[in-house]
């Protein structure tokens, strides 16, 4: 699967209060959550973002609370994937579970605001068209690839129950 979009660049430790402040936790409808995406650090994000765009950050993206509302808001805002040097572990699981692709890439810091990107998910390849450079993302462990290919944890669990009981 090939994703295409522009980069929205952030630094280290983008936390879940920045992605979706706690006052919106009573909202669980994705479309409504998306209207507050990145509100904590980037008031103009929603004006700039176009479908398919990507979030790019340095280390520890998604740190803080366990709120799954954070990846849901990002996905529902039209973002196709998040690329960072590293992710906080709860955010990582949450994103995979709800079907938001993440790419862990040591060179994510080289990507700049507004760069046009093309991502080939299966290969873990990030093509920075603006810079004419290709970056490689860390491969997923086999178990997680299975989860992702089935569409997330709920779908994986349902499939397991159907095939052999759990």
């Amino acid at each position: 699967m090939i994703l295409k979009g522009g980069a929205h660049k952030y630094g280290a430790n983008v936390d879940t209060d920045a992605i979706i402040p706690a006052r919106y936790l009573n909202v669980s409808e994705p479309g409504e959550l998306s209207r507050h995406c990145m509100e904590g650090i980037d008031g103009d994000f929603l004006k700039r973002v176009k479908p398919g765009d990507m979030l790019v950050a340095t280390t520890n993206f998604g740190c803080g609370s366990s709120r799954e509302h954070a990846p849901i808001a990002i996905k529902a805002a039209g973002v196709s994937c998040v690329i960072a040097q590293s992710f906080a572990r709860i955010f990582f699981r949450n994103a995979i579970n709800i079907g938001l692709p993440l790419l862990e890439c040591a060179q994510a810091d080289e990507i700049e605001q507004g760069d046009e990107l093309e991502v080939e998910l299966e290969k873990g390849e990030i093509n920075d068209i603006t810079k004419n450079k290709v970056f490689k993302a860390e491969p997923y462990p086999d178990f997680m690839l299975q989860l992702i290919s089935m569409g997330g944890l709920i779908e994986y669990t349902m499939k397991k129950i159907e095939t052999r009981g759990v």
């Binding site: 280290a12 936390d15 009573n26 904590g40 740190c63 709120r67 799954e68 579970n97 709920i154």
Partner: protein, 417 residues
């Protein structure tokens, strides 16, 4: 090769031999959600038709983050959670009973089991030797339905703490110091395992404070071995039979070993807007504080209120500094009333809030105004955390908080002890 505590507990709960790096399916002993993450978990269960809960006695819904409810929408979320409890038979801890992590520690967590909470500070129960970790709503929902989860067995860091705290220095200062040393992502995916003379001398409450903040360095869990202190605590809660002796093998493999001399520590503080932004309290002396908050799953227990009451006894809060107190549970509140701490705190000008998360997460009570600084005993100081991105949050011990409330500025508690 011997096993770390994480490897031992996960081996026991997976029916196989668990080594760091393995992906395992583990039995979940306890699963819980709170009023922020619960509605989404229930929605996932409903949409997937998995509303039959594997073990309703070991699945809990907590109403603590926005309790009592500040709005119609949140009150309706509470109704949803109560209705699900009634229908499914899962446990519910309602408004005013306390913060989920404190109630899990007091009444539910057993040494040696796997605990999943849809809240990042679920790591708190690691102090009792449980592999306790935070996950999102979907993960915990599936664990409630199936009684199982998938886990990658983490590598471990051993945190070896020697010596004893000097006067005015507490467990909070130690964990803030450690997070400063590791960085906010220094232990991502890892298990922190605490050991050494200082750890053996710690009360359960101090161990909860430390385990609670393991996630602020990115850790998956923060584990303590179990000992007499663990046994005495479980006995005091009428749960002595759940005790199990747990310790790592002497030849266990650790990715890193970090040594800290407790006697060398000073009162420590975390500056806005990141928990690893650490300084000594004395270095920030004089910073004006508009609000002091003592409470939370980190530092809202009886001994925390005792330290604050001792410092505030016979004194008043500064006229320009509000002082808010939220006991971590209704049991803590009752004990603090019996011990006279609440009387002392109220006479010093404190406002008593109901047991629960209080102002920590910024959805009700004690939100900050533009430009205001708060000194809080909580675990997180991200921008906007207490409801306002234009405010500033400092994190410190209850002693630092009490001393700063009196002076109206960040104050080293040793000056008032």
């Amino acid at each position: 090769m011997g096993k770390t505590l994480a490897e031992k507990i996960l081996t026991d709960n997976s029916g196989g031999d668990a080594h760091a790096g393995d992906i395992i399916i583990a039995r979940v002993g306890l699963a819980f959600v709170q009023d922020g993450t619960g509605p989404l978990a229930l929605r996932q269960l409903k949409e997937s038709g998995l509303e039959q809960i594997a073990n309703p006695k070991r699945a809990i819904l907590f109403l603590d983050h926005a309790a009592p409810s500040p709005s119609r929408e949140l009150a309706n979320d509470h109704i949803t959670l109560r209705q699900f409890a009634e229908k499914s038979g899962v446990q519910i801890c309602d408004v005013g009973e306390g913060v989920c992590h404190q109630l899990v520690a007091e009444s539910y967590a057993n040494p040696g089991e796997v605990i999943l909470g849809a809240d990042s500070h679920s790591v708190t129960a690691g102090a009792l030797g449980a592999f306790a970790t935070g996950m999102g709503s979907t993960d915990v929902a599936i664990a409630m339905a199936l009684g199982k989860t998938w886990l990658r067995v983490p590598e471990s860091f051993r945190i070896e703490v020697s010596g004893r705290f000097t006067n005015g220095v507490y467990a909070k200062d130690l964990i803030l110091h450690l997070i400063g040393k590791l960085g906010a992502d220094g232990a991502t995916y890892k298990s922190l395992e605490f050991s050494g003379e200082a750890v053996l001398n710690m009360t359960m409450s101090e161990r909860f404070t430390i385990a609670n903040m393991a996630v602020e360095a990115g850790a998956k869990t923060g584990l303590f071995p179990t000992d007499e202190t663990t046994q005495t605590y479980l006995d005091s809660r009428g749960r002595g039979a759940s005790f199990r002796a747990l310790s790592p093998d002497p030849d266990a493999d650790y990715e890193r070993v970090i040594t800290i001399d407790a006697s060398s520590l000073e009162p420590t503080i975390s500056k806005p807007h990141s928990v690893d932004n650490i300084a000594l309290v004395r270095e920030l002396a004089g910073t004006k504080i508009a609000q002091v908050f003592i409470g939370t799953c980190t530092n809202g227990r009886l001994d925390d209120l005792a330290v604050a009451a001792t410092i505030l006894n016979g004194k008043r809060r500064h006229p320009k500094t509000r002082l808010l107190i939220a006991p971590a549970s209704s049991d803590v509140l009752k004990e603090a009333i019996s011990a006279g701490y609440i009387q002392t705190l109220i006479e010093s000008g404190a406002v008593l809030l109901p047991p629960g998360c209080g102002p920590c997460v910024g959805v009700h009570q004690g939100a900050l105004g533009d430009g205001e600084a708060c000194l809080s005993t909580a675990n997180r100081n991200f921008k906007g955390r207490m409801g306002n991105p234009e405010a500033f949050i400092y994190l410190g011990s209850p002693a630092t908080a009490a001393a700063s409330a009196i002076v109206g500025e960040i104050t080293d508690p040793r000056e008032l002890m």
